[in-house]
Symmetry: C2
Subunit: 311 residues, 2 copies
């Protein structure tokens, strides 16, 4: 059992993150990279770890590079929940359009994820904050079942689950406090074109808060009592948008967990931190870059973002 | 000479607005309206008039409805610069896609605009604020030549002028303080995908400030010293996006002109007012609705917008 130098192995994580851990092939109109460290849980855990004790739940195959595991541990991510199994690591291959927002999945190989049955280390059981990163809703539910002390749960999802596993997703919605999804997914899930209406429909199905992600146009937090904007940092160059949303949510949940806060305003403030981390995430390929960001850089950009809205 | 009840006919306008005055046919996926009051200058002047003495420069034909002229005057718009000529009023017909952002121009009939040579009333000559709404850059320049006291000039443009009259547009850029344009136009004008880079390229060509409009995702003000976000009000329903940008710019320039301010922060604050007015503009077809908005409603929504960013 290795838990990373900075964290005590015996205390429960402040935040448990479950999702995919992957090796990605990424095509942009200008570059192509193979076997890049990726996966929703990888990005989210690496983004959260500077803020709180973060426990990762996922599975990797025999091809998962030792450096990646070391990176997670050096970052302080608790990897007791990261199972190693015979076979190959989950693999995703995608191509981004020239606008660097639309993308096409070229290939998805589930590999060791195909029959993953998450079983959480007993030490995770008391974790109060949970982020169910993008993964089959049935797996999100299985993880949630093992976290009886969860007091604030956020979940992400994607078009695939909206289309193919609507019932499981409905069960997830009924059990989470915050759903994050992008604008086209919000429309797909509800049939509403207006994001305000879409968020209202989603909130009726469970989550008190909905965070609608709009890529380079920032995001909008729909809470019971109010609507709050989170700007995206205007970059000179985006190299690889993969993992932006996961990094955003990871940092946001990490900050919230560290404060044990769940009020609307705290969620908004943490989302500004998430936006800062997401803006770094897209400047380079792969999750390593997120895993090496220091809090000072995150805080500087966060202050810049705040100065763009709070004059 | 009729100048509207609320304004003195003899004093120069605080703000001169030039652009198109039109009768539009508008198709949305759900509705179709004929002969709706439109035009960039119509929306902008009606949006500006509650804030300052607003002088309109444009041309209409014999078919221009008397009610529309009355509406402008009741709103306090100075219509001494609105010429009436034999022939038909400028006509635009367009169809919006289901996303209510992309649109196709089905028909443009210049009519009386074809040989319009704006000649400003002498009383307009000392106006300090100018908004060159969307119209051929050559006409924008002609109007600017007649406003020697202009101390703050904003201009809007569109893809057509970027593609067809690049030299005239370059001359406009060299003479304005603020350029407003949408994100695809910013990219077309500069060849830069990053809006931050695009704004920097545009600023090198003249305007100290660039406001990039992103429709329902709000807008971004790129100023010499900083970048500022302006959220868009999240609506339950958009009925007709026509005129949103013109209403935005008109209200923004109206508020700036009334304060005789041109500092970055004042422009941002005025842009929040612009965003408020634009959000009303898209709730109904045609410019009449903008012409009937009262300042209290505008101020209420403006306060709501501020509460969405300044927590």
């Amino acid at each position: 059992v290795i838990t990373g130098g900075k964290r005590e192995g015996s205390s429960p994580p402040d935040l448990v993150v479950v999702g995919s851990v992957a090796l990605d092939d990424i095509h942009t109109p200008w570059e192509h990279r193979r076997s890049v460290l990726g996966g929703s849980a990888t990005y989210a855990a690496l983004a959260a770890a500077p803020f709180c004790r973060t426990g990762l739940v996922g599975v990797v195959g025999e091809d998962f590079p030792e450096e990646a595991r070391v990176l997670l541990q050096e970052r302080g991510v608790d990897t007791r929940g990261l199972e190693s199994r015979p076979g190959r690591t989950f693999h995703w291959e995608g191509r981004y359009e020239a606008n660097m927002e639309d993308r096409t999945t070229l290939c998805t190989e589930l590999n060791v994820f195909a029959d993953f049955q998450p079983e959480l280390p007993p030490e995770y059981r008391d974790a109060p904050y949970v982020f169910l990163a993008n993964i089959a809703p049935a797996l999100q539910l299985q993880v949630l079942d093992q976290l009886p002390e969860a007091s604030f749960v956020a979940a992400d999802t994607m078009d695939l689950w909206i289309r193919t596993t609507a019932d499981d997703l409905a069960a997830v919605l009924g059990r989470v406090d915050l759903l994050t999804l992008n604008e086209s997914e919000a429309r797909l899930l509800t049939g509403e074109r207006s994001l305000r209406r879409a968020a209202a429909r989603i909130r009726e199905r469970g989550p008190g808060m909905v965070l609608v992600k709009k890529g380079e146009s920032g995001s909008v937090l729909f809470a019971p009592d109010r609507i709050l904007f989170i700007p995206a940092y205007p970059l000179e160059e985006v190299r690889d948008p993969t993992g932006a949303g996961d990094s955003f949510a990871g940092a946001m949940m990490g900050e919230l967990a560290s404060r044990r806060d769940r009020e609307t305003e705290a969620v908004w403030r943490a989302a500004i931190t998430g936006s800062s981390v997401a803006s770094f995430a897209v400047e380079e390929f792969g999750a390593e870059y997120v895993g090496r960001l220091d809090r000072e850089a995150i805080e500087r950009r966060r202050a810049e973002l705040l100065a763009m809205i709070c004059v």
